[in-house]
Symmetry: D2
Subunit: 345 residues, 4 copies
């Protein structure tokens, strides 16, 4: 019996060759590298294509992945992606996704798109925030995993939620759906700098951000539209950059419907996430980015002032994990019938 | 003419010996060291007493101040403080201030207290947040400099505002006083770790805070009481620790009274701070902690969504500068008829 | 075929129940928590005991591990440890290890000790640096995995190397063994703060370390003795604290024996680590802590000035990974015949 | 008498109009902004020209300096610089300095150049590291202030030392000059990221540097040539980037000449810096970047192992202060007969 673990290692190698074949487009960015890292060690996946963000960019080495993944980075090609894979993750700029998603869908590949290109359903909102996005014949599933498990099985195109909306919606939606939220909703989010991507700029220059906190996109961030679409109500959303690499913490201010008590708030969240392997309810022990960085967890805590009905929810996650690459894999896991948390712990 | 600068240096030394004699109690903490650093290079002050936070703690070296200040740190003594100074800064724990302020006031020393002991006027609020504070016979001035310049001249006891209230009130008060604010007010503040003081704890342990953001004191922070007292309205205030050393940024959410436009908001703030040398109005160019760290400035910016009336104010400052030591010196400057920004640029 | 991954998950659960039973003592510290995190997701291990660092400390919650590990933290007990496990990791203070190792060894449990208590073989050196350590009847294996794979199979007590020695020795030893190193050896190491442990102190206070670099233990650090023992030559070793959480980078200065060229240096290192799954040779592309943090890799790069024979080696690793918990598990993997990198990628 | 401080403020304003007229070229970079910040509050200087780094770049706002300096940033013009100033600071790329210094010198303006263009005296070394630099008819003074006070009075062109050489030379030179240093000298330097300038790049991207330490320019950094020129001996110099904004710490490894004791080492350094207002000798209390950041101090500490003669010197400073802008002003102070530390405390 004690020798079984040795057997399983060899067995695993055999199985890996028979895993679900996945392709990743955009592996040189932060989201793409995280996808590759997670997929390479995932026991049920086989990475059969890793492509740069364009054909022009050509091949690139990924030194951080030495010893974890031994393949080559190829130039972007929709035909090659479709041919060699069962499912594809797109970690590309919106414009590239806008072009590639229809093409891959037409070829029958299941697509998990990490860009925002297909997140907004309203044509007007899309024209404002994602003008390059075409209309799709196929239905697109908004892939907040905990909300769409059943639908994932049949989904051909899954648009993975933004990092800020994932944090905000996981905390708010169970309460909003039950009608427990009243009055204005304010979402004040603090994000690590990796959320701004890998392209150097003054905004992401080390000396500008070290020792710095600043708001940006105030009253004009496209994630507002995404949150409002899913919640079906107006919110005030302000993101901030804070001097750390990975992680988002959203502090959410609302009032509960008069008469709503602590038990009801806790009950609604427990009902929503009692079985969720990747959401951790912290109750009054408010969460900390530190405990979710480099994980796929979303931690949620809250305080209710019963007298005034003021509710403060705190929700946090790793913007590259549950906020991007991790949630994309979580969606694939559910879509293909694997364990939801496979490769994510 | 070109030789005049050389003359002024010698002249300065002469003048320094005739400057206002100040004492600082609590020089080993972060606030106290900042006071000493600022006072030592202030052209109008002479530091005649630098004391530890208690008699027991005795003498201590301050290596960071080598070359800037050459005196000795003495054990705390009210009698010695009163005898050798015209004015005293107290950077002590509340309990120590609660005891020392009456004693110094009785001896005729002008006191600038940086603790919270005397900030709350309501006996009920004081009993909850500062139970050690006695009643004082003397009037206590709440020393938000930009709001109390005239009163400072005659003040004997000045209680310097907390770091969070300073940031929040400077942005909100001109608007609230004019009746321009409607509805709920949410103040989401992000603070560097030096605000938690110099005593090591798990909360301030480097490895716990690096890469971390966390809310604390949610719906139960005594600075709420201070802000509400000065604004004379309820607010929801939530502070957060962010991984940097010095600085606070407060993001303030409110609605303006219907009909209030961008011009009126800007006009009220310009009227309040047009002449203020240490408040910088940034309008739509939102401020950044980086630009106020190691300064005595409070920078304020804002965005108004005219249609909905949603207003977001962003206010930031250095918690050890304008939020503590710097504002205390600014108060003394005004109180003694020096230039408001003397020693603070 | 495509259904096999689903099969393996269930199979894995069955196997886990039959995995190697391990105990971890000291799970509330940083090293202990990392051990628990790694062991909990290791496909060949079953954590059957997780104990605090003493019987007095009693039970403790480990919120960061919610969802990853569902057991209880028990008070420390040698008898319980020995009874319920095949192997034990000790992440305890030296004094506790000094007492516990002999007791566990006597009960037949295989021990992997992460403390320094048993690292030094010379009685004189031990008396200076680890005065509490008793003499052991059993042989103790110095567990730098890449150097002791064969010996690990039969080892009963493995003393895991310090974080600094691991980084320094992996780079230096293949060259020193071949006689390629001449003259003085200087090791300048930069460490993240987690290496200083979890107990708050002024030295590890956030505001003291943020924006700070400082040397410590200069010419008087016990890791010098450890490095010198293994290299069998004198070195000058100076560690520094740098403002990050996890990671060590050691810059090593030496001269090569006259006539030694780039090819020989590279050849010796490739010979040593050609098959090593957890050492990555970077050659002239010098390594960066960023690429090894949160991994079990040791990355090594170098530059040789052929004319002068000056050699600079740069070696880096995660002090909690390959420098502590990860290497301990790597040792266990080899000792029990599992894949060396099992659970570590 | 107590009114004198008020008098001096008005008097100061009068004197400022008669201060030394200085120009700063390159005010939009980090070094240039620091120069402007320091010069603006310097009691003996009047900033009469603040120029961008080229004529093309045109005018730029400097929001961080609002309230500290009220002038305009002009496009670069040698003629305007020469006309309106008594002395000029150049914080420009080497190529620009290489062109501008001769032109300004010809017009009789005293020049303090912060670039490396004129630091190397050997034509061969200059051809390698600064190929754009022409030969100058005028003598150029290497401006390590503590070493060249007398020569500064008559200097027309002062080349300000690099940040790394300043830290290394201040610690080493008094010992090397006395013949107290034997054997190899290794200089391992750790620098904050602001030393890499303001231009965004992958190397200075926040997410690449946060949590990172990496060596660069190994055995091939032009500051090696500068240090070797001044010391007149070979050194091994390796710089590293560490995740902080401002500050350099150099750890220097050498052996002392046999027989040299602790007293002699201390004596040589005290003799060199006994009167220096901006060098602080810390002896065995090793310095920390934290204590010199945002100051103009260079702190130096050391440990000597008397038996083996191994000496470790630790020297640190703010790379934008004593390592750049501060030292340039210190040089001007001495050159024009002001107090050496004027405007620098």
């Amino acid at each position: 019996m004690r020798n079984l673990p040795r057997i399983i290692y060899r067995f695993k190698e055999y199985l890996l060759m028979s895993g679900i074949r996945v392709g990743i487009a955009g592996v040189t960015g932060y989201g793409g590298q995280e996808l590759l890292r997670l997929a390479a060690r995932h026991p049920g996946l086989e990475v059969t294509a890793a492509m740069a963000s364009s054909a022009r960019e050509g091949e690139r080495a990924l030194p951080a992945l030495t010893g974890l993944w031994a393949g080559d980075v190829e130039p972007l090609s929709a035909a090659d992606l479709a041919r060699s894979t069962d499912a594809v993750f797109l970690a590309l700029p919106e414009a590239a996704s806008a072009e590639l998603v229809p093409e891959l869908a037409a070829r029958g590949t299941r697509v998990f798109d990490l860009s925002g290109a297909f997140r907004l359903r309203s044509a007007a909102a899309r024209a404002r925030w994602y003008p390059r996005t075409p209309d799709l014949d196929l239905p697109v599933l908004y892939g907040l995993t905990e909300r769409c498990r059943t639908a994932l099985a049949g989904a051909r195109v899954v648009t993975c939620p933004g990092c800020y909306p994932t944090a905000a919606l996981l905390a708010l939606q169970p309460l909003a759906d039950a009608g427990a939220i009243a009055g204005d909703v304010v979402i004040d989010a603090k994000s690590g700098i990796s959320g701004a991507g890998k392209t150097p700029s003054e905004k992401t220059h080390f000396s500008e951000r070290h020792g710095s906190v600043a708001a940006y996109g105030v009253l004009a961030h496209r994630h507002s539209a995404e949150i409002e679409q899913e919640l079906d109500r107006e919110v005030t959303f302000v993101p901030h950059l804070v001097p750390l690499d990975r992680g988002i913490l959203a502090t959410i201010y609302a009032r509960v419907r008069p008469g709503t008590g602590e038990d009801e708030v806790a009950g609604l969240l427990e009902q929503a996430y009692g079985d969720a392997p990747l959401v951790r309810l912290r109750h009054a022990a408010l969460p900390d980015i530190k405990q979710v960085a480099y994980t796929n967890f979303c931690d949620i805590g809250w305080k209710l002032d019963a007298g005034s009905g003021r509710l403060v929810l705190v929700s946090c996650l790793d913007n590259l994990g549950k906020g991007a690459a991790g949630q994309a894999i979580q969606n694939l896991n559910v879509a293909f019938g694997l364990e939801e948390q496979a490769g994510l712990l």
